[in-house]
């Protein structure tokens, strides 16, 4: 095993931008003065999630859902392995991490959708009273899953003796040479950023 490139640039930039945008949206959620910042941050979350969903089909090997999403049984088996101190190493996401990723993507989309409905309730009469509650519940659930995700990253880093946080910056993890991705697809980053900006602007109108 050696250090190989597994995460392309859109995965890495998207990850940290998503974390930052969600944190910003959470921190500005109580303020009316900062309402536009909140909505732009939320719109950025939605844009990144939509890009990631597409990237899960057309991205590089370890970015594809087919490459890392596993059945519940595989998640349980993986966690048992971690508990037994015999964790099965994955070049890309481990099965438990994959579960957190899917949950965060779904919650990001639903939180954004209910947020938009709340934001535009006054003129459209969409029933925002209900969506306001839903939006808050979904956002809290997303924060909880993000917390679990961070805890999982710490446990995974210790279990596999590799710094998974650093890997999300460098894109490099332990793996067989044949498991590496050929290129980091830097060209797709402007597409990600442009798309996220368009989504943020459009949703905040």
């Amino acid at each position: 095993m050696q250090k190989i490139l597994v995460w392309d640039w859109p995965v890495r930039i998207g990850h940290w931008l998503l974390a930052g945008a969600f944190a910003l949206a959470w921190l500005t959620s109580e303020s009316e003065e900062l309402r536009l910042v909140h909505v732009l941050a939320g719109g950025t979350v939605v844009g990144i999630v939509l890009f990631r969903l597409l990237w899960g089909f057309v991205g590089t090997r370890h970015a594809r859902f087919a490459g890392f999403v596993r059945a519940p049984g595989a998640v349980v088996a993986y966690l048992r392995g971690v508990l037994a101190r015999r964790p099965v190493h994955a070049a890309g996401h481990n099965p438990a991490g994959a579960l957190a990723i899917v949950a965060l993507l779904v919650l990001g989309l639903l939180t954004g959708a209910t947020g938009w409905l709340t934001y535009n309730d006054s003129f459209a009469n969409l029933g925002g009273e209900m969506f306001e509650e839903l939006h808050e519940g979904l956002a809290t659930a997303m924060l909880a899953v993000a917390g679990l995700h961070v805890a999982g990253v710490i446990v995974g880093s210790l279990a596999h003796r590799e710094n998974l946080v650093r890997a999300m910056f460098t894109g490099r993890k332990f793996g067989e040479a044949g498991e590496a991705i050929a290129g980091a697809r830097l060209w797709a980053v402007p597409l990600l950023l442009g798309w996220a900006a368009v989504c943020a602007w459009w949703l905040a109108r």
Binding site: E30, E32, E33, V39, Y119, S122, F123, E129
Partner: protein, 135 residues
């Protein structure tokens, strides 16, 4: 599945039990204020002054009226986002001041930002009295 259904039913019942009329809400704040200051009576006049008062804790939204306009029976407009806000007065918007948890949530948020602190029970009682009295 059965447990989930029961949980949802329990939540709905709890929500239904919490529903109140604006008058009941006002009475709750009046009673709370009276415990802190004997003989307290809500005043729509004080509520109106509070509604118009420029607290200055927020430069963009110095008073309640900044967004809700001088007439709470009219729709408001968010000074930052320019989004419409439904009328605050129950006479113009039947859903207002019927959910105690929601009322507390928005008093907490908006008082903290506009007044610069949490509002007292007396201020809330005056505020609701003003909104119920209309103009």
């Amino acid at each position: 599945m059965k447990h989930a259904t029961l949980a949802i039913l329990a939540t709905l019942c709890a929500a239904a039990a919490q529903a109140a009329t604006p008058a009941e809400l006002l009475d709750g704040y009046r009673a709370e204020a009276a415990r802190q200051s004997a003989g307290f009576q809500p005043s729509a006049q004080r509520g109106a002054e509070f509604f118009q008062h420029r607290f200055g804790a927020s430069a963009k939204m110095p008073s309640c009226a900044s967004c809700h306009t001088d007439n709470p029976a009219q729709p408001g407009r968010h000074v930052v986002t320019d989004k419409a806000i439904k009328p605050l007065a129950p006479a113009a918007n039947a859903g207002r001041f019927t959910d105690p948890a929601k009322v507390e949530k928005w008093f907490r948020r908006n008082c903290t930002e506009v007044v610069g602190r949490e509002c007292s029970a007396a201020e809330k009682a005056d505020f609701v009295a003003f909104l119920l009295g209309g103009r």
